[in-house]
Symmetry: C2
Subunit: 274 residues, 2 copies
């Protein structure tokens, strides 16, 4: 099968074009793609330059490129006409039917989605990110009143990246608390967590995968032995069940999936939208 | 203008549907929308339940909802037929033309984009996130050899969230180093940074905005005075210029925009794709 080049073209960051394009391309598993992002094409000159690059690639590769475009400004979009390949123009495709439905003209201005900053939205993300950092790994427990959610699990079960993703993507205040061996031994929910039981969510992970992750971090010592890892995971799951804490297995889930599952299962509101 | 409800419907996380919908809706500035995400609709029962919720909302609101769907499994998509409103079906719209262009059938399986974890991709993100955390705020400088990029700027110029976003979204190894007053006084690039000049990128910010951010953190003291903030910003920009360090102003940029600008201006490769 011939190798194809995929271009993500935007007058803004290209994040939307990348996300949408990636979703579509993952439906074609057998095919491999070279991926090139051409962001900030906000002048006719830059659009012309991008066209040259795309057309040259088509000539050299002998297969038409696939181009995902989120160019939104009319004069740029009209100019953007690659010679060959498949052009998927997200705004062109959907704006007309939305305009009909809403009985309104769209602004066709760029800089709306990921561009010009909405300062309230920005502050919310930064504040939530700082909250996640300050309340990472049980470092601080006195701010749990402000938390939307507190993720609990054994070391390396995926708490930190999930909290950071919840903060950056949804502006949600997410703390996390690691269950130590001593705490797991007692079988009781740590005292600092008890007043916040309603906002606790558990993470678990298959022992085999956990051992692999821990060994990369610390190859020797009890921390990454089969026995220790199995004990911790079993004790954590028993704790979740004893306190009726909902929990999710992170072994086969992406961070996006974990975040979305947690929001969906708890009813915690997104404070911002991606 | 009547208020509309927007639904994001997916048999997976809903992240793609939200991204698509949000991009399009921001083109209609005057309109306000209530937004509801209905993720993980992976059985006929769940699809039917979602239909009930959507149709009930349409009845009570008297205005058709707008529905962005990334349902990909055929039997779910065929079942999903809301009574009123505008249905924007992402996969239905684009997969046929992609199938033609690629001379291949798409898999119509869910769990490809943000779902079933690609464990190499997962490890890359986690590793990059840990790198960003360990190398945040100049905490560690001995790992700069591994860094793809080192962001440099005054306190609260936006370094940490940008690094975390680069790690979580693109798997890029991003460290950051805060320029202290002493270092700014000397006008010289700190010694630990000098061997890594080629991977340094500067962040700056308007003094007025910086003062506002700092005052929220520490309302009193020199840290957030007009004079101090102006001095630091000016000295940092002079330092960038003296060493020919590229820099970007974070004042009016979203985190996505900053990350995308930095990758685009440095040529640092995305290690993963969103």
């Amino acid at each position: 099968m011939s190798r194809r080049t995929v271009f993500f073209v935007s007058d803004q960051t290209g994040v939307t074009a990348e996300t949408l394009g990636h979703s579509l391309l993952t439906q074609f598993e057998a095919q491999e793609f070279d991926q090139v992002t051409l962001p900030f094409l906000d002048t006719i000159d830059k659009v012309d330059q991008a066209l040259k690059e795309i057309d040259a690639k088509a000539d050299s590769q002998g297969a038409g490129p696939i181009i995902f475009s989120t160019l939104v400004q009319d004069h740029l979009r009209k100019r953007f006409a690659p010679k060959t390949g498949l052009l998927i123009d997200f705004f062109n495709t959907f704006l007309p039917s939305l305009e009909d439905e809403l009985h309104a003209k769209s602004s066709h201005k760029s800089g709306r989605a990921h561009g010009l900053v909405d300062s309230g939205r920005y502050d919310q993300r930064i504040d939530a990110t700082n909250f996640a950092l300050n309340n990472d790994d049980g470092a601080r427990t006195r701010d749990y009143d402000r938390a939307d959610i507190i993720l609990v699990g054994v070391s390396r079960s995926g708490k930190t990246p999930t909290c950071l993703y919840l903060a950056l993507t949804y502006g949600v205040y997410a703390a996390n608390y690691p269950l130590s061996e001593d705490e797991l031994d007692t079988g009781a929910l740590p005292k600092v967590l008890q007043p916040h039981l309603h906002k606790i969510y558990g993470l678990t992970i298959e022992p085999r995968r956990l051992r692999q992750i821990r060994r990369e971090r610390r190859p020797t010592g009890r921390y990454s032995t089969t026995q220790q890892v199995s004990f911790e995971v079993r004790a954590a799951e028993e704790l979740f069940e004893r306190y009726k804490i909902k929990f999710v297995d992170t072994t086969r889930s992406s961070i996006e999936e974990l975040a979305s599952t947690i929001l969906s299962n708890t009813g915690v509101e997104r404070r911002i939208r991606p």
